[in-house]
């Protein structure tokens, strides 16, 4: 029975022709005055109160430099620093031990935990500091002077101690007196164009590439007089001097006629910074990190 139906007070007013409106009217359409539900309103006030409390407790209001710090002293940056410190503390022991053992002893048999740490940590350090020149896969940049660390050819030696020394002190830098150093003569002006052309053909010949046979013999004499002192008589180079092996298939700056000729005329002068903070003031890595990178690079397929 419809008359038994209990009506909402608003509905009763509406039925009585006296609806409670806001007074707004558009084309005869009136807007009912429907206040917010009480629970909603109180929730809204509660969120405002919460916001005020929050801005007091936590960093909130932006200032010219930074923001209000909040009385709880909460800081995500400090949390991160704390986390890093926690991991550093956890690794402190293993880092100390890595610096204490012989480099060659960091291998899976003798010290599996150190080896594992060095490989994983070395890979991370490599990705951060070395990959810019040597590439993320450690393959360098072909024919551009950034050496490939995966192959079996090493300018300064590929034993783990050699690699460690190279990383520690760098190459041809002015920051570390212990840096690997060599400087090839730029033969532009010292040798005639004919002599340069013939020695280029000679070098291509001893490295097994196509060469102009007519020039090779003359090139041999030029080589013996000017190059053999460093690159040795058979062209296999000298690691003590950092003189590259000219007979193999690997060319740091390319093995084409043009590239070799450029090298002979102008010489090359690739540099690498020193990384060990202990060895030089310019170094950025700890001894443990340098050793880890050395172990990592040594494990990539070229280690001797």
């Amino acid at each position: 029975m419809i008359e038994d139906h209990k009506k909402h007070p608003e509905e009763q007013k509406l039925m009585a022709g006296d609806p409670d409106t806001t007074g707004h009217s558009w084309d005869g359409i009136k807007e009912f005055n429907n206040p917010l539900p009480r629970w909603w309103l109180w929730t809204f006030y509660a969120t405002i109160a919460w916001a005020v409390v929050y801005t007091v407790l936590y960093p909130a209001w932006p200032l010219v430099n930074g923001a209000t710090p909040g009385i709880l002293g909460f800081s995500t940056r400090a949390n991160v620093a704390e986390d890093i410190q926690r991991f550093d503390d956890m690794n402190a022991d293993i880092r100390t031990r890595i610096t204490e053992v012989e480099l060659a002893a960091i291998n899976p048999e003798a010290n599996p935990d150190l080896y594992n740490y060095a490989i994983q940590g070395g890979a991370a350090t490599f990705a951060t500091w070395c990959s810019q020149c040597h590439g993320s896969g450690a393959a360098g940049v072909q024919a551009s002077g950034y050496p490939n660390l995966l192959d079996d050819d090493w300018l300064w030696g590929g034993t783990i101690d050699d690699i460690h020394a190279t990383i520690s002190h760098g190459i041809r830098n002015e920051d570390d007196p212990m840096a690997r150093y060599s400087q090839m003569t730029a033969f532009e002006g010292l040798l005639s164009d004919e002599e340069i052309a013939s020695v280029v053909q000679y070098v291509r010949n001893i490295s097994g590439q196509e060469a102009d046979a007519a020039l090779v013999e003359a090139g041999a004499t030029v080589y013996a007089d000017n190059c053999a002192a460093c690159h040795l008589d058979d062209g296999t180079g000298d690691r003590y001097l950092g003189a590259p092996n000219l007979t193999d298939a690997i060319w740091l700056y390319g093995g084409s006629e043009e590239a070799i000729e450029y090298t002979v005329r102008n010489a090359r002068f690739g540099v690498m910074p020193p990384w060990s903070a202990e060895a030089s003031a310019a170094g950025r890595l700890s001894e443990a990190e340098v050793r880890s990178v050395a172990v990592y690079v040594h494990s990539l397929g070229g280690g001797e």
């Binding site: 393959a139 490939n148 690997i250």
Partner: protein, 473 residues
């Protein structure tokens, strides 16, 4: 006017249930199933199984830390999870099969909720007495006797609950070791938490919530209802034989039901089966036992309440003889389920026997695509993961076969043989080298096959991959 009418309540208070003790064939079957299932649950973690010195000797062990599942002679690795998926499919089909054939037989006999509630009823009956005594105690004041009986019952329940939660954790660690750790307070926090939670659920579900778990919490009854048909066996009342029911010696105009309420008194979910099959009924068949007992006493044939299918009603009302139960069970639908269920079972068993003890995955390192060596040869690198699933440390030889000649070298290991520790996976860098000037070195792509051979058993497995020459695009 409806103003004075009480508004309808949305909450109905639980009617407490005091099931009476009953004897009979289905009760005996339930005892056997209770003993067997509880026995399996409590004893299994303590069974030992020798797998050699390097592997756990617990017959059934879920080793979550090392991601291994041991089941007697079977060891499942994470990459063999399809076995678990297969078992779950079998469990699903098994549910279809049993539900379509026998209705809620799982609920009535083997569901943990039913088994533990039954156990708790047994304890309750033993301490507080049978139905009438428990009804009296329920209505009695909280005097010393009531407190004593209630506390005794709760303590026994709690002991059962602790044992239940305690047994669960033994499946996840070496049981004897864990027991010592639990007692001396050295076990992992998660072990205590798990025991605590399972103790609480067992105590509350088995002692207090009981049939409410089945009626309000469990989705099974709803799912099962969708899988039943007119041939499914359920517990039902032959009202064409029993009605009109009535007490008294003059049975001229009365059916076989003497309205003794025996079927209602024994019901663990508190329903009257004579109202017809209903959601609450877990088909535990105790009312059948109770009614059979009464029928025997009054000299009537058994089966006034019985396992029946829906089609039996029309059949029997028409005066036809009873249909054999097996004719309901063996029908096309259940046969199809059985065939599906067993073919998956057979498939899994065959898979189990033909699976290899070694497993190899090969990931070519493509940064860089290849490396030129000083003699002009071309080298590709592959990350090879070798899983040694045998029970001993094993040597594996890595070789390569292809149309062209290749050399194989292993990082950090002389020769072509790598040793993998027992029950573990090893990542080995493998170098495949094409000699200078060879077609593979100067070419584009060459298909190669990497073989890994277990030197102790000479079983071997392979993985196909490709070799990038210097002409790769």
């Amino acid at each position: 006017m409806s103003a004075t009418e009480e508004p309808q309540k949305l909450y109905a208070a639980r009617e407490p249930v005091f099931p009476k003790r009953v004897k009979g064939r289905f009760r005996n079957l339930k005892w056997v199933i209770m003993i067997v299932t509880l026995g399996i649950y409590y004893v299994t973690p303590w069974i030992r199984w020798d797998r050699g010195p390097d592997l756990p000797n617990q017959a059934v062990l879920l080793d979550l830390a090392n991601r291994r599942f041991f089941f007697f002679w079977i060891e499942i690795w994470p990459h063999e999870f399809y076995f678990v998926a297969g078992l779950l499919i079998m469990a699903g089909l098994g549910l279809f099969l049993f539900t379509s054939a026998l209705g809620r037989v799982w609920c009535g006999y083997s569901c943990p909720q039913t088994v533990w509630t039954d156990l708790f009823f047994t304890v309750e009956r033993w301490i507080e007495g049978d139905r009438n005594a428990r009804l009296r105690l329920w209505n009695a004041k909280w005097d010393f006797t009531k407190w004593r009986l209630r506390l005794t019952k709760w303590v026994v329940w709690l002991l059962i609950a602790v044992a239940t939660g305690g047994a669960w954790v033994f499946y996840f660690a070496d049981a004897p070791t864990l027991l010592v750790q639990l007692v001396t307070g050295q076990a992992a926090f998660v072990a205590y938490t798990t025991i605590g939670i399972l103790t609480a659920t067992t105590f509350v579900f088995g002692g207090f919530m009981r049939e409410q778990v089945c009626i309000y919490m469990c989705p099974w009854p709803r799912i099962q209802a969708a899988m039943m048909d007119e041939d499914t066996i359920t517990v039902a009342y032959r009202d064409w034989r029993g009605e009109p029911r009535g007490k008294g010696k003059d049975r001229e105009n009365l059916g076989d039901c003497i309205d003794c309420n025996a079927c209602v008194n024994v019901c663990p979910v508190g329903i009257d089966i004579r109202d017809g099959q209903q959601l609450e009924c877990i088909t535990c068949a105790l009312c059948i036992d109770a009614c059979d007992d009464i029928m025997a006493k009054i000299g009537k044939p058994r089966g006034l309440i019985d396992y029946m299918a829906l089609t039996d009603e029309a059949n029997e009302r028409a005066g036809n003889p009873k249909k054999n139960v097996w004719k309901h069970i063996f029908r096309l639908r259940t046969i199809i389920y059985t065939v599906l269920w067993s073919s998956i079972g057979i498939g899994l068993t065959v898979l189990l026997f033909i699976r290899s003890d070694i497993d190899v995955t090969v990931a070519p390192v493509r940064n860089p695509q290849f490396v030129t060596l000083s003699d002009g040869s071309i080298r590709n690198t592959y990350d090879v993961r070798i899983r040694n699933m045998t029970n001993q440390e094993t040597d594996f030889r890595v070789t390569v076969t292809a149309d062209a000649a290749f050399a194989v070298e292993l990082e950090g290991v002389p020769g072509d043989t790598v040793t993998v520790a027992v029950d573990s996976t090893q990542l080995q860098r493998v170098y495949v080298i094409a000699p200078p000037g060879s077609a593979a070195a100067d070419g584009n792509l060459t298909d190669i096959r990497l073989w890994v051979e277990d030197l102790s058993t000479t079983t071997r497995t392979y993985e196909d991959t490709t070799f990038f020459g210097r002409d790769i695009e």
